[in-house]
């Protein structure tokens, strides 16, 4: 049971505070959005996660992961109905889904780190009460809460047909950046547990390093956003595109 020091109790008249979602994100979703989220999330946790873990250990790629997602029609959901997608009305979740891959792991890591800190005691107090660690928790939670809000906003704009591609760049860049930053924090917080299979942290870090560095996601999106700001493209030596 969380002690009052780690989990503030809601006082009368105050919105009940769930430490998992600071801005009461749940209430901003429509019914079918919640249903899709729940379905995808249940699948990701129960079926996909064990396969991902095993594939990482065995150094292989498991095609079942994709087949399972296909069975739920999670792949290509922005595609129009006549091509067996489900088009708009649901596109919100596309973005949220693409975030889920990293987001789920990130929040798993955050949750794991939080639990370890609550459970482990140093000089008679839970680790979670140390300022260095409290600050990390605050940083991570702030990042995740802001991200959810941004996802929702851009998702809704997409549905209305008002999304600019730079918005995707901002989100993807920020997402893959913090998706790496957070497990780095949580690695610190886990102490030497971070490299054990049980906590699934190192696999996530290795995965994200690839996205960030090899695929260049973070830097490339920066170029796109930069062009939007300066009006000058810096991809190549060509003429500036205005």
């Amino acid at each position: 049971m969380p002690s009052p020091a780690t989990s503030p109790r809601p006082s009368a008249g105050r919105a009940s505070f769930q430490s998992q979602e600071l801005f009461l994100f749940e209430g901003q979703l429509f019914e079918e959005e919640r249903m899709i989220r729940d379905s995808a999330s249940a699948y990701a946790g129960e079926k996909r996660q064990p396969r991902v873990e095993h594939a990482f250990l065995a150094e292989e790629t498991d095609p079942e992961i994709l087949r399972g997602m296909d069975a739920l029609d999670l792949l290509g959901i922005t595609v129009p109905e006549q091509y067996s997608g489900i088009t708009a009305g649901c596109v919100n979740r596309t973005l949220r889904h693409s975030m889920r891959r990293d987001g789920r792991r990130r929040s798993l890591n955050w949750r794991g780190a939080r639990q370890i800190e609550l459970d482990h005691k140093q000089f008679g107090n839970p680790l979670a009460q140390k300022q260095l660690l409290t600050k990390k928790q605050a940083d991570m939670m702030t990042e995740m809460s802001h991200k959810l809000k941004a996802f929702l906003r851009v998702g809704r704009l997409f549905e209305q047909g008002n999304m600019a591609h730079e918005m995707t760049s901002v989100i993807k860049r920020n997402n893959c950046g913090t998706a790496l930053e957070i497990p780095r924090h949580t690695r610190d917080m886990h102490g030497s547990n971070d490299i054990s299979t049980e906590f699934q942290m190192i696999g996530h870090v290795v995965n994200l390093e690839t996205v960030n560095i090899n695929e260049g996601t973070h830097d490339l999106h920066a170029l796109t956003i930069g062009r939007n700001q300066t009006g000058l493209q810096s991809f190549s030596k060509g003429r500036p595109r205005l």
Binding site: G27, M35, I36, S39, R93
Partner: protein, 252 residues
Amino acid sequence: MKVLVPIKRVIDYNVKVRVKADGSGVDLANVKMSMNPFDEIAVEEAIRLKEAGKADEVVAVSIGVKQSQETLRTALAMGADRAILVVAADDVHTDIEPLAVAKILAKVVEEEQPGVVLCGKQAIDNDMNATGQMLSALLGWSQGTFASEVDIEGDSAKVTREVDGGLQTITVKMPAIITVDLRLNEPRYASLPNIMKAKKKPLDEKTAADYGVDVSPRLEIVSTTEPEARKAGEIVGSVDELVAKLKEAGAV
């Protein structure tokens, strides 16, 4: 044959439950709610009956607050054909007691004339484990509880029940109430297109008054408390001391 599946909207099983400060119950404001997991199994079984050609219609019914509509949509997304929402409370904290639920369900059964009622053995919020049994008594129908296997053939059903220390197989006469247990099946995930289609499936809204059932509580909640926190462990100096301690605790 028509299958009626009563479902309940409960606090999600992943949520860490918090007791309200005044001890009157559990805090449900801004908490994730979902379909009672046992009811999910009942919905799955009903859909499988339909897929096997043994049932031609699956009707889901939920009794509670208006938000239960969302839970019914989940059942529709899984594959139920239509749904009935019986609004019986305004406040999400109001729990309709099993007898009132059973009385409403009995009226729904009268109206719908299903060949079988498949429901979860209990709801994970109050763990009452009573509604199915009460409904059976009210209707005078047979009951097969804690089902881990169901085989409906003509006018009888073979139900394997999870009883203490093993399994019991019984044959019940149809129509029957079957309450399902955890191992009966593994519920499917609703696919995205089915979630979208569920929006267009019929969902009738009724009230408890429509069925003439008084849902005011008969039970009084005296107090609600959180489980005791786990006590700290103890380090022992030797194997002998460990054995002595275990003996003392009656563990060996």
